[in-house]
Symmetry: C2
Subunit: 288 residues, 2 copies
């Protein structure tokens, strides 16, 4: 990795940014990691935990001489941050982000980043609902998928270097277009979040005494950070609405089978869901 | 418990029936537990694990001289089983069941059981999606809620004895009408199951490579037994449809907030769900 990058600047040293710093520093001692934070306390904490070599509150100073700049702030701030630092980015550097949605962010950054700076969008799928430097771990990306989202404007050499970087951090790199990424994550992550919130909202006060492990697991994601999830759902609006439409149609099919008492059809729908799920997580036994 | 019942007959020695046998036998050595099974192998296994003192394939023989008869077969078989054994039930005995839905079962059994036999519907909320005697445990009901569903026809003395019995097995006894039980469980258990199946059905083939722990947890219940869940959903049809209507309205409210980009409203809906969930499970941290 020392060959890949010599100076990595991570803007936003929370769970993902901090874990990237820990992962880089544990693997390659000659690579210098610079952290940029919004508050002095978070920079101090990142220094204490060993996630960064040096830290600053001044983004322009942090990105100076960096050959890789990682935008690891909250999803809703990434595009604005890119605009703010655009004119200070060193010529030839690679810029990436770790935002949970991609189409809006990639379009915004491609529009504002200057020529000679190479942007590649990214999204490591690892712990997006925990937050903060204290949850950061050097092995957070080990075996996890990191999606990179090149476009026709993406420099192939920058793309290869960034893929090698994530591979060195332990991730399995997968390439999708920004639109494909957003449609996929809408179905695998954003829709389940909305459904979990709606399940909780469907409860009536006396129900809570009868809540078993099934409801607990089904709604766990609804305890995620509210602002983060507003960012995600609103920056991926069209794909989320598409996924909700598909889900509504599936619910309607199940409802019809229950309403008409069509046991054969109901069994067929439940069996298909069960088979598909068991394929995904073969060793995950259901609880009540 | 020896004072409560002298001879308990459990018809259906799977997870729940077997665990009841283990719990009774570990607490009260003078109470005799008789198991009735559909296959000799399941009776042999129940004898081996110590869940029953004696076993038979003949329900009429098993219930002879019992002062408590527990119908612990699959939900869809309970009403028919009650009809079959009605004429063989000893005068004065108490009959209960452990079915996951109550209105249909209670109405059916109250209609067929003879005078002088005291029926009280029951539902221990414990592990309904695992199955089989091999998952049975003496402490399965420890600290779990057991709902009893008396009606105006229920004998108060039988109700008290059954409540004492479940309390002795470690359960917290809660009383609901059959209709209240079904409406509550529709929202806390049956609706989440339907939603989990619909979430899985909403996935497209390439999505599965991007499935994180959020989707895994949200859909865990969809790996439950298909026939059991057909029984549950179809014997609780009206309450399930009501719960689905409420859920659809909640989804629609979330959709509107996403569609119109109303961040304030979206944050308010997500925050309400988060607060309510955190109240239920304060120590359960979300994962990605």
């Amino acid at each position: 990795m020392g060959q890949l990058f010599e100076r990595v600047c991570i803007v936003g040293v929370g769970l993902i940014g901090g874990s990237m710093g820990l992962a880089v520093r544990s693997r390659e001692k000659t690579c210098r990691v610079v952290g940029v934070g919004h508050r002095k306390t978070s920079i101090d904490r990142a220094l204490e935990t060993g996630a960064i070599d040096e830290g600053t509150l001044d983004a322009a100073e942090g990105i100076k001489d960096a050959d890789l700049v990682v935008l690891a702030t909250a999803v809703g701030l990434i595009a604005r941050l890119g605009k703010e630092i655009a004119s200070s980015l060193p010529k030839g550097c690679i810029v990436t982000d770790v935002g949970s949605t991609k189409s809006e962010i990639v379009a915004s950054l491609e529009a504002v980043l200057p020529a000679g700076v190479h942007f590649v969008g990214g999204h490591p799928i690892a712990g997006s609902e925990q937050r903060g430097i204290d949850a950061a771990r050097a092995d957070l990306f080990q075996g996890k998928v990191c999606v990179l989202t090149p476009t026709p404007r993406t420099d192939p050499h920058a793309m290869r270097r960034l893929a090698d970087f994530w591979t060195a951090l332990g991730a399995r790199v997968v390439t999708l277009s920004p639109v494909e990424h957003d449609a996929t994550l809408a179905r695998t992550s954003h829709l389940p979040h909305v459904a979990a919130a709606a399940l909780i909202a469907s409860l009536r006060s006396p129900d809570t005494a009868f809540a078993g492990t099934g409801l607990r697991d089904t709604t766990r994601v609804a305890s995620g950070d509210v602002e983060l999830w507003c960012d995600i759902l609103l920056t991926n609006r069209d794909a989320v609405l598409d996924a909700m439409n598909v889900f509504t149609a599936e619910m309607e099919e199940l409802r019809r089978a229950v309403e008409t008492g069509d046991r054969k059809q109901l069994a067929s729908l439940l069996a298909a869901a069960r088979a598909r799920r068991d394929e995904l997580w073969s060793n995950d036994s259901p609880s009540a």
